[in-house]
């Protein structure tokens, strides 16, 4: 699990100065990352309670020490099939603004340090979903890591909270 997927040279960090830490995780063969400050904890998958009339990627809610937290399937959110979760799957609990949300992924892989200068924009040819949901790309030797924009993916529409 701790195989280092992203190796960024010290030189590069020094060159650009500002660095940030990201948590990376796997969905199939894709690598995604979120800013470490948004991540609250990582939980092993446990069965959720389904919610009626929701998009299929919303897998329901779970009890996180007394609060009700929705769990979304990241693979399905990006248009893939529903994940069939088992014991190895994990739910990454993240804070989006005031809300706490769970994101179902295949596995968490690592924590990486990325310099601001290494983040590249999403190509204009990307799909509409990708371009709003991915805030940038970081290239490594053999992988491309997509930095995901959690609010764009899972924030509740303003109307619904009014």
């Amino acid at each position: 699990m701790t195989e280092n997927l992203v190796e960024i040279s010290d030189d590069a960090i020094e060159a650009t100065g500002k660095t940030k830490q990201y948590v990376t995780f796997l969905v199939g063969d894709r690598v995604y990352a979120v800013d470490i400050v948004m991540v609250r904890e990582i939980k092993q998958w446990s069965a959720t309670t389904g919610l009626p009339n929701q998009p299929s990627y919303t897998r329901g809610v779970l009890n996180l020490r007394g609060t009700i937290v929705p769990v979304h399937d990241l693979r399905a959110r990006f248009g893939g099939p529903l994940t069939e979760p088992g014991e190895t799957h994990v739910v990454v609990i993240v804070n989006i603004g005031e809300q706490t949300v769970g994101v179902l992924v295949d596995a968490v892989s690592d924590i990486v340090t990325v310099a601001a200068g290494e983040i590249r924009p999403v190509p204009a040819t990307a799909s509409e979903l990708d371009s709003s949901a991915i805030s940038g790309l970081v290239n490594t030797n053999d992988h491309m890591v997509a930095l995901i924009n959690l609010p764009a993916l899972f924030a509740v529409p303003a109307e619904a909270t009014a």
């Binding site: 959720t48 919610l51 009626p52 609060t67 009700i68 929705p70 009014a162």
Partner: protein, 689 residues
């Protein structure tokens, strides 16, 4: 800074209480109450608001409170008699004061024209309308700032202060020794007694000294000296002389004599002193005593307690379940202990909830002003009759009530009441419109009614508009009550033109949504020509709920116990399908509409036939059978919000955590029924509400 905000928050909370009290006293006054304590209490309320306003520097509020207080003072000391006109003015002034408090609290603008008008009228009553003294207060404050500003210390210099006490100097608590000690901080270097007097240290109570000369070597400004000695000036002559004074200080004004009682200034000693009532009326006296025994606690602390108790309730349930699993041998004593604990937990929870219960009065008392304001703006005559203000509801519910109630009263004033008194008279009604606002307990819920005796909802116009807006496909297929309910449709407004009062976006749909968010229901009864009545039912608390646990497949759901009439094992013989495809169940000769929870919530899983029917009674639909797989049992559950981390889900009012730690959804019966009954074609294109 934080402290300041805390004080301000407390001040505003107090203001709400004070102003509520004020309104009550003014109403009594208007009704002819001549008890001096009524006037006194009203005076005190205004006075306290002014005091707080001055402490926090809310200028507009200070000025207005001052003139208001001046008029109240005249009433209090009998210089002005209260007649109908004055009572009305005082009530308006109370409204303006509230508006200014709100402005100070929330920002925004109070109605400037109204403030001005009422201020002018108050000035008129105050006779001659002397300029508000508040201006003086601030002017003085600025003045003393100036003094300090121009008196930057310029090194040490000699200052001599001569203090000649009057009789009574010692009696009122001055102690020369303390004076001397405190003066050391100002640079006191020597004390000299003038005349035949003992030194301060040896002074005898009966003997009043003639004077002392205090010698200072000080870097302090002259203003600081004045400020230090000011307190003695009421009972002593104080002379301050400084060597090497700056030129600028030569023509420095004497500091204001304001903060001390000065007999020479008392030119209106003949003015009647307010009769401070020592014999307050029995009623108000006991009321006061009751208030004095309350304890102000920050809501967040109680919330923490409520949450904690909620956790205890859940843990207790877990414990009970686990014990029942391992206790196959039936240890009777253990059973008893668990039972007592469950009862005590429940009592604990009720007690905690009772702390948060509050009479709806705190929100109801704001409504007469809303109606008066609207009457003013719309040029309609109306009175509001309020009842059931003492009905207690959880404070979380109360806080949320103000907004929907205001909307509903607006709606009644704007759309409900006839345009003119003449219209009303033509319809055989009294010229002044009547609105009623009432609250009462009904079981585990509170029922709030907003009613007007206006023209009712114009169904023809509503329907026309709904057709125009494409909300209704087939106008023929719609029942009259369904037309009425169209006003709850998002964006719907019956006013031909969007009026300044109701405006856009504050339609009844907002009200309904808000009420539903609170786990409540909102219904209306329209009697064309005679008026409209809105009924809101709300849970007494948003924290706990007695529920029935039912299951469908692997999922468990909670039905609020208050909505369940009975649970029946389904006899397939009693089920039938109507020609339009909907299903019914026969129960004691009646046919009840039947809703499958599995279908309504689109739950998958093998559709084995449901075994239990839960009969619920819905205000809008009457009795309905909701069919589920199994009935598991009755349990008190702690309400958890879905919206906190997600959003409102149709058909669901919230969630709870069961004994095994799993989440179960709490069903919102009326929204569930709406979901499943409005789906088949009834002429409506989309579900209403």
């Amino acid at each position: 800074m934080d402290d300041d905000e805390d004080y301000q928050a407390l001040f505003f909370a107090e203001c709400v209480e004070l102003l509520g009290d004020l309104q009550e006293q003014l109403d009594k006054l208007a009704a002819g109450d001549s008890d001096p304590e009524t006037v006194n209490a009203a005076f005190r309320a205004v006075h306290s608001v002014k005091g707080g306003a001055a402490a926090f520097g809310f200028e507009g509020l200070i000025g207005f409170a001052h003139i208001f207080e001046t008029v109240m003072d005249k009433v209090r000391n009998g210089a002005r008699e209260t007649d109908g006109e004055l009572s009305a003015l005082l009530i308006r002034a109370g409204d303006v004061l509230m508006a200014l408090v709100e402005q100070a609290r929330d920002g925004g603008e109070a109605d400037a024209a109204m403030v001005e008008r009422v201020t002018a009228e108050l000035h008129q009553v105050a006779e001659g309308g002397s300029p508000p003294e508040a201006a003086e207060i601030t002017a003085r404050a600025e003045n003393s700032d100036d003094l300090e500003g121009t008196n930057e210390p310029t090194g040490e210099r000699g200052v001599t202060v001569t203090l000649t006490p009057h009789l009574g100097f010692l009696r009122v608590g001055h102690e020369p020794l303390r004076l001397v000690r405190a003066a050391k901080a100002l640079g006191l270097v020597g004390v000299e007694a003038l005349g035949e007097v003992p030194l301060p240290q040896a002074i005898d109570l009966g003997n009043s000294p003639l004077s002392w000369k205090l010698q200072f070597e000080s870097a302090a400004s002259i203003a600081e000296f004045y400020s230090f000695f000011e307190i003695y000036e009421a009972f002593a002559d104080v002379k301050i002389e400084a060597e090497a004074m700056l030129e600028a200080e030569e023509d420095e004004p004497q500091p204001s004599a304001e903060p001390r009682p000065d007999p020479s200034d008392a030119n209106d000693q003949t003015a009647p002193v307010a009769p401070i009532s020592a014999q307050a009326s029995f009623g108000s006296d006991t009321a006061r005593a009751k208030i004095a025994k309350t304890l102000r606690v920050e809501l967040s602390r109680i919330d923490r307690l409520v949450n904690l108790v909620g956790e205890v309730v859940i843990t207790q349930a877990v414990l009970a379940q686990r014990l029942s699993e391992i206790d196959a041998n039936g240890h009777l004593e253990l059973d008893h202990a668990v039972e007592s604990m469950s009862r005590q937990t429940r009592e604990l929870q009720e007690s905690v909830m009772a702390i948060r219960a509050q009479p709806v009065k705190s929100v109801f008392s704001r409504m007469p002003r809303v109606v008066r304001d609207l009457a003013d703006k719309l040029g309609k005559e109306a009175r509001l009759i309020v009842s059931g203000e003492q009905t207690e509801v959880d404070t979380t519910v109360i806080e949320e009530l103000a907004e929907p109630l205001t909307h509903m009263l607006r709606n009644s004033m704007d759309h409900g009441l006839e345009e003119t008194s003449a219209d009303r008279e033509a319809a055989g009604k009294r010229p002044v419109g009547t609105l009623r606002l009432s609250a009462e307990h009904r079981g585990e819920r509170v029922l709030i009614t907003v009613e007007d005796d206006g023209r009712g909802i114009d169904r023809e116009r509503v329907l026309q508009k709904a057709v125009d807006n494409g909300l209704v496909e087939d106008p023929e297929a719609i029942a009259p009550e369904e037309i009425d309910n169209l006003i709850f449709h998002p964006g719907f407004s019956t006013a031909e033109s969007v009026s300044a009062v109701s405006g856009r976006g504050v339609g009844m749909d907002v009200v309904k949504k808000k009420i539903q968010m609170l786990g409540g229901r909102c219904t209306l009864r329209n009697t064309p020509g005679q008026g409209t009545r809105f009924v809101i039912t709300l849970p007494l608390t948003l924290a706990v709920l007695d529920g029935m646990i039912v299951s469908v497949g692997d999922e468990r759901f909670i039905l609020p116990l208050s909505s369940v009439v009975e649970a029946i094992r389904i006899d397939p013989e009693t089920l039938a399908i109507l020609p339009n495809g909907s299903r019914v169940m026969r129960l004691r000769g009646d046919y009840l509409p039947l809703i499958s929870l599995r279908e309504a919530l689109q739950l998958d899983g093998n559709a084995r036939p449901e075994e239990m029917a839960m009969v619920v009674d819905d205000e809008a639909q009457g009795p309905v059978a909701i069919i589920v797989d199994e009935l598991i049992g009755q349990r008190q559950v702690v309400l958890k919000s879905l919206e906190a981390n997600f959003r409102r889900v149709e058909g669901i009012s919230g969630a709870t955590i069961l004994g095994d730690g799993r989440v179960a959804l709490i069903l919102d019966v009326s929204s569930l029924l709406e979901m499943s009954t409005s789906a088949p074609s009834q002429g409506l294109l989309e579900a209403v509400g």
